[in-house]
């Protein structure tokens, strides 16, 4: 409806009412054809249509159903159209399942680590051709992404802040600062790069993030570091893509679409705690979506798709300005729990009380008798469990506000066995050196780590200067995969398998040269510096306790993310700090200045040449000097002939 030439005021009025406000109007109503009765109402409809005056523009109309024949015919096909019934016990088992859990771990630094995990399992096959998809618990948008782009596995995380391994220990699910996306495609994908490009654009829309900035200059194909976490023994790394955006800032607009993917939204269950004003007032915030296919049973005869949504935060107890060390759900999230998500088959809250077996460090209220032990990250931990599906958990007040009151500050944290850091050394704006330090804190065992470094092309790595030293000795990597960069096309990729000796620091250094960018290639605020994504260190760390290798066994979600192949070691992935590197930055008014300057030079040169060519030269009679002129004036006044 656009502007109209007509001047009828009534028409204009209608237009106005349409554009300003949607006027609702129901017009004709015809009784629904009860298909059991089979009465034809066609004639009646005609009459009603005729006597109905079109008073207003209608936007909303009651649906008249007169396709009696259609329904009848269709019903015939179906044979018996099941009448609405109260379903007895023989309800077909739904093929999907939803679980939610929250783990709270008081950290030795005095912070609180809260880790939410929501898992949807769906027994379906996205890859079937021409399938009408019917979604129940699984979000439709992600399902469409999986089937359209033939995704085998998808991992995406948005993180604000840096996880401090030395203070906080290992997180349940690690993630680098900024945005990280890695995807395994099915073998059927022919043009992986085009699919990847399209996929990042679609994900960018789904998560309201700048994932559309992922292009070939920050995408790599890791050969060993990122193996599929689900089933499938894929070795061809041409189907994997990995990219990070360390500059990405995570905020509410990323959280809202993430919450929308949950079946209960933020209306019920643990997700009611996810209030953005509290969540983003924390030291560390990371939200992620992991999609993969997993085994349903021990023999792995059938597979199902798993969607795992995780959210990790670390709350600083001191920044809330309180003197007493006390923590409660309400204080942290400004909400309390009142019910589990009705769709969840399990809804649990775990509190890590491993360091507090006798309650000498802190006190939990309400207390729970339910205890659970789980092996996570090579350590046997004890948890107090609150089962939200049980009515008794909420007590008489019908709400659960968990409270932790500290008694003492003592306690030693187990040093993490593996941790890493990275920094840039050197001075000036021409060259520099990247140092990556990896610490093996295990007292007597050495273990191998896979280091992945993806460096943008504008830092030109001098790969001949690469050196790996442990304990002052050269440590030769047993596997090096290096892909040189191509200017403006692809980044450097360096993957190394390094054996870390026990109780040692291994240092990897490589020198680089800073490139000069074209003036349009600089991002806004270039003097802030350029981010280089975190190094990824993946390793199988020796475990002190036996790990569970059965992935289908019922376990808390937080302990079942990384599959475990053998009992003696567990998988750890850690991310170093992202680097912030200064590049030589020009003055951005430079192009115009240069234009003006060169134009002036050209104009001056041209002008003098032009003069030389076109002017005719002659000598003028030199003017008599000033003294002579004055003297002449005087002489004239005296009547004496001039000089």
């Amino acid at each position: 409806m656009a502007a109209h030439r007509c001047s009828w005021w009534s028409w204009l009025l209608i237009l106005f009412s349409l554009s300003v406000f949607v006027v609702a109007d129901i017009h004709e109503t015809t009784p629904v054809n009860d298909h059991h009765g089979g009465v034809d109402h066609n004639a009646q409809t005609a009459e009603q249509t005729a006597d109905q005056p079109a008073v207003e523009e209608r936007r909303w109309e009651a649906t008249e159903v007169k396709e009696a024949a259609t329904v009848d015919a269709a019903a015939d096909i179906q044979g018996t159209s099941a009448p609405e019934t109260v379903v007895p016990s023989s309800v077909p088992q739904p093929k999907d399942d939803f679980q939610e859990e929250l783990v709270i771990r008081p950290l030795h630094s005095g912070d609180i680590y809260a880790s939410f995990q929501f898992r949807t399992l769906w027994d379906t096959d996205f890859m079937r051709e021409n399938k009408v998809s019917h979604y129940r618990l699984f979000p439709k948008s992600l399902g469409q992404v999986i089937s359209k782009f033939s995704v085998r596995e998808l991992h995406i995380s948005f993180t604000q802040g840096y996880w401090r391994t030395m203070q906080w220990g290992q997180p349940f699910i690690p993630s680098p600062p900024g945005a990280e996306l890695w995807v395994w495609f099915q073998d059927s994908v022919t043009d992986v790069d085009a699919t990847w490009k399209e996929l990042t654009n679609v994900l960018s829309g789904i998560f309201c993030a700048s994932l559309n900035f992922i292009d070939s200059t920050n995408t790599v194909q890791p050969s060993a570091s990122f193996k599929p976490l689900g089933i499938g023994n894929v070795t061809d790394h041409s189907f994997v893509r990995y990219a990070t955006l360390p500059r990405e800032i995570v905020c509410t607009e990323n959280l809202t679409p993430w919450k929308k993917l949950l079946p209960c939204g933020s209306k019920a269950g643990l997700a009611v705690l996810l209030k953005s004003e509290k969540l983003f007032h924390s030291s560390f915030h990371s939200q992620a979506v992991h999609i993969r296919s997993v085994c349903q049973d021990w023999q792995c005869k059938t597979t199902s798709w798993e969607l795992r949504q995780t959210l990790n935060s670390v709350f600083d107890l001191h920044n809330s300005g309180q003197t007493k060390r006390e923590w409660s759900l309400f204080k942290m999230f400004s909400r309390t729990l009142t019910e589990a998500c009705p769709l969840a088959s399990s809804s649990k809250l775990y509190i890590d009380i491993t360091d507090n077996p006798q309650g000498e460090q802190f006190e939990l209220s309400p207390a729970t008798s339910l205890l659970s032990q789980a092996v996570v990250l090579g350590d046997r931990r004890t948890f107090s469990v609150y089962d939200l599906t049980q009515e008794t958990t909420f007590g008489s007040v019908r709400s659960l506000n968990l409270l932790i009151r500290w008694k003492s500050n003592e306690g030693e944290m187990l040093r993490p066995l593996l941790h890493a850091e990275r920094y840039v050394a050197g001075y000036g704006l021409q060259t520099g050196e990247i140092h990556t330090l990896m610490y093996n804190n295990h007292p007597y065992r050495s273990f191998p780590v896979l280091l992945l470094d993806s460096v943008p092309w504008y830092l030109r790595l001098y790969i001949h200067t690469l050196s790996v030293t442990s304990k002052g000795k050269d440590n030769k990597p047993s596997y090096i995969h290096y892909e040189p960069s191509k200017d403006r096309v692809k980044p450097h990729l360096l993957e190394m398998l390094i054996q870390l000796p026990p109780n040692s620091v291994t240092e990897v250094t490589v020198q680089f040269e800073r490139a000069l960018l074209k003036w349009t290639e600089y991002p806004p605020d270039p003097n802030h510096g350029f981010y280089v994504g975190s190094s990824v260190i993946s390793s199988l760390v020796p475990s002190t306790v036996a790990m569970h290798t059965n992935s289908t066994q019922e376990r808390p979600l937080f302990s079942s993310f990384f599959p475990c192949k053998e009992e003696s070691s567990y998988f750890v992935r850690i991310y170093t700090e992202p680097l912030l590197v200064n590049l030589p930055t020009p003055d951005f008014s430079m192009p115009y200045n240069v234009i003006c300057l060169t134009c002036t030079v050209v104009a001056v040169g041209y002008g003098s040449l032009y003069n030389l060519l076109t002017r005719s030269f002659q000598i003028e009679e030199p003017n008599p000097g000033l003294a002579k002129r004055i003297a002449n004036v005087i002489r004239r006044m005296r009547g004496v002939p001039p000089l």
Binding site: T49, A69, T85, V132, H134, Y135, K140, C599, Q618, I619
Partner: protein
């Protein structure tokens, strides 16, 4: 000026060279004839030598310079002229060529032709006389072909011409047998088996009044395919000649055509992209606003909204229902567009309006006025289709929560809407499904409910037909329209839809192409890449083909070409390389050019001016001399 320096002391020198030089000066420099005299007189006066001797060498030098001054001047002028020439002949074209934007060739004249749209629609109609409807002498004149033309001018740029080519013939023996079937539906089916009429054409059988195929009060029967039966009445047969009979028959055949083939209102509605609406019939405007715009594909999403999963556990067999009810219709509609379907269940989705309790009905009610606000909060959860950019048709089944149950929709007359459903134009439909019948006094929550999909799909199918633009118009009196069967759509209904969709596609594609051409014409520095030019050309050729096919009545091809045209034109129009933000505005460009161009052009212009003014002056002097 040079002559001004030839002053008296210099002339006084009895030097040979000086004299010659001076005289040559006086010869050539005709600009100062007064000095000439002075010079010669000065020479003859032979003033005594004074202090000038010391200055002599300098003076001599000076005079030699003076001597060469004239070729020097000419050379300067020539240099200035040649520089100007180089600038004009080499510099300007070079600058022009290096800064010009690439603009591929576009079929501008053909696009201009498209701006003036002349659509010819023609339909083949066959009128078959059964035995007993024509007298033997009338029968001699058949077969016979007649064409009828109708012309409409929609607006100054758009004209429509409808042509019905009517062929009259008598029925074959097999057709006679088919017409002897006991019911009209069977006759329709067996006639269809005999010959399959192509898309867009119609066959009208004229049957005698004694025929038992049609009930008493029915004169015209419209079948499921492309056939209609017309009963001839007694008063029609008063005429003797065939022409009189045809004249009697014509109004009825025309009515049949209006129902089964394109009608003028349909076509004008389909042209809405080109032609602004006249403030005409509001009914038809509302009808035209309801259906989705023509698109190469549609996504159909069924959503079950369960705001209260604690009390209700809902089970809907959407997979089976879609296969049974929706798929046949979509298979039938597949020539029009690609359809894809999916469904989802959404929990904790609240309506935007809190229903009011109406004690007279003992139920919660939603007023017609508030329906507009119902969907907004729901829509945020529906999510758009991540995998395609086709328009989405949403069908929502809302099961009200236990505190607002039962819930009924009321219309403007405060009457309950029997289907308990409503639809929103170009968006989709919502049905409210009450489950309060399952609440007993001792029912344990959650209640497990199996949703009656036949009831739900009946409503959704009706809404889908409306939203896709299948007009279910009320037939004129005396007409009987066959029920549309398992596919949910009769062949002629599909034809009607194809007519209006082809016209709509053509209208949309022409507007897109003409506005694109206009835009490219207006903004001169948009780069037109080859692929855009290619898309535009292919759109134009497809459009021309589609219009040609419409003219000869090949509906299927016309629709196909019009779809291609719309795809190509949209692709060209939305190509990212046409983003005008990538180009500098003219004032900024000149800000960059000025530091170079201004200092270079000013001396050239000035010397040109000087040369011109000198030339003019010389001419004036020559004239003065002549006089």
């Amino acid at each position: 000026m040079a002559v001004m320096q030839v002053d008296v002391p210099l002339v006084s020198l009895p030097d040979r060279t000086t004299t010659i030089c001076a005289s040559s000066v006086s010869d050539k420099c005709s600009s100062t004839p007064g000095h000439h005299k002075e010079l010669s007189s000065g020479y003859s006066a032979s003033t005594p030598r004074t202090s000038a001797t010391a200055q002599r060498p300098v003076k001599i030098f000076q005079t030699t310079i003076l001597c060469v001054c004239l070729p020097e001047r000419r050379r300067g002028q020539l240099a200035a002229l040649s520089i100007a020439a180089v600038v004009i002949i080499v510099g300007v074209p070079l600058w022009w060529r290096t800064t010009e934007t690439y603009r591929a060739w576009l079929p501008v004249s053909q696009i201009k032709d498209l701006a003036k749209l002349q659509l010819h629609l023609s339909a083949d109609v066959e009128v078959v006389f059964a035995r007993g409807t024509v007298t033997p002498e009338q029968q001699k004149k058949v077969p016979l072909t007649q064409t009828q033309d109708e012309e409409h001018t929609v607006d100054e740029d758009t004209t429509l011409r409808y042509r019905y080519e009517t062929k009259y013939r008598t029925a074959t023996i097999m057709e006679e047998d088919a017409l002897k079937k006991p019911t009209a539906a069977e006759a329709d089916l067996s006639l269809h088996m005999l010959s399959e009429s192509p898309c867009g054409s119609l066959v009208v059988y004229v049957i005698p009044e004694s025929s038992s195929l049609l009930p008493e009060d029915v004169n015209v029967y419209i079948g499921q395919r492309r056939t209609a039966l017309v009963r001839i009445s007694a008063q029609m047969r008063v005429g003797k000649t065939l022409e009189q009979l045809l004249a009697q028959l014509e109004p009825q055949i025309k009515q049949v055509l209006q129902v089964m083939s394109f009608s003028h209102t349909d076509i004008t509605v389909a042209l809405s992209d080109r032609v602004r609406f006249r403030p005409g019939n509001k009914e038809s405007i509302a009808d035209s606003m309801r259906a989705f715009k023509s698109s190469p594909g549609y996504e159909i999403t069924f959503s079950l909204l369960n705001p209260d999963p604690k009390s209700h556990q809902l089970h809907w067999d959407i997979e089976g229902a879609v296969q049974t009810y929706i798929q046949p219709l979509l298979t039938k509609l597949s020539p029009l567009a690609n359809f894809s379907m999916d469904s989802q269940t959404l929990y904790y989705t609240m309506l935007g309006v809190t229903p009011r309790f109406d004690s007279s009905f003992e139920a919660y009610t939603l007023n017609a006025d508030s329906l507009a606000h119902v969907i907004n909060p729901v829509e945020a959860r529906l999510g758009s289709n991540a995998a395609s950019s086709n328009p989405v048709l949403n069908f929502l089944l809302y099961v009200p929560d236990i505190r607002h149950s039962p819930l009924y929709i009321h219309d403007h007359r405060k009457q309950e809407v029997p289907s308990n459903a409503f639809h929103s134009p170009r968006w989709g439909g919502i049905m409210v499904y009450n489950v309060n019948g399952f609440y007993g006094s001792e029912t344990e929550f959650p209640v497990h409910v199996n949703i009656n999909m036949a009831k739900v799909m009946g409503v959704f199918l009706a809404q889908l037909r409306l939203l896709l633009g299948v007009q279910s118009l009320s037939p004129p009196p005396g007409f009987l329209v066959a029920p549309c069967g398992s596919a949910g759509l009769a062949d002629w209904e599909l034809d009607r839809l194809m007519w209006s969709r082809s016209v709509e596609n053509i209208a949309t594609a022409t507007t897109t192409i003409t506005s694109l051409a206009q835009l490219l014409d207006q903004i001169g520095n948009i780069v037109i890449n080859d692929n855009i030019a290619q898309q535009v050309s292919s759109a134009v050729t497809s459009l021309q083909l589609a219009m040609a096919e419409l003219e000869v009545g090949n509906l299927g091809f016309a629709l196909q070409y019009s779809k291609e045209a719309i795809l190509a034109s949209e692709k060209a129009f939305f190509d990212p390389s046409l983003l005008h933000l990538l180009y500098f505005p003219d004032d900024q460009k000149f800000a960059i050019y000025i530091p170079l161009f201004l200092p270079m052009c000013v001396p050239i212009l000035l010397s040109m001016l000087k040369i011109v003014s000198e030339a003019r002056q010389r001419r004036r002097e020559k004239q003065a001399k002549k006089e």
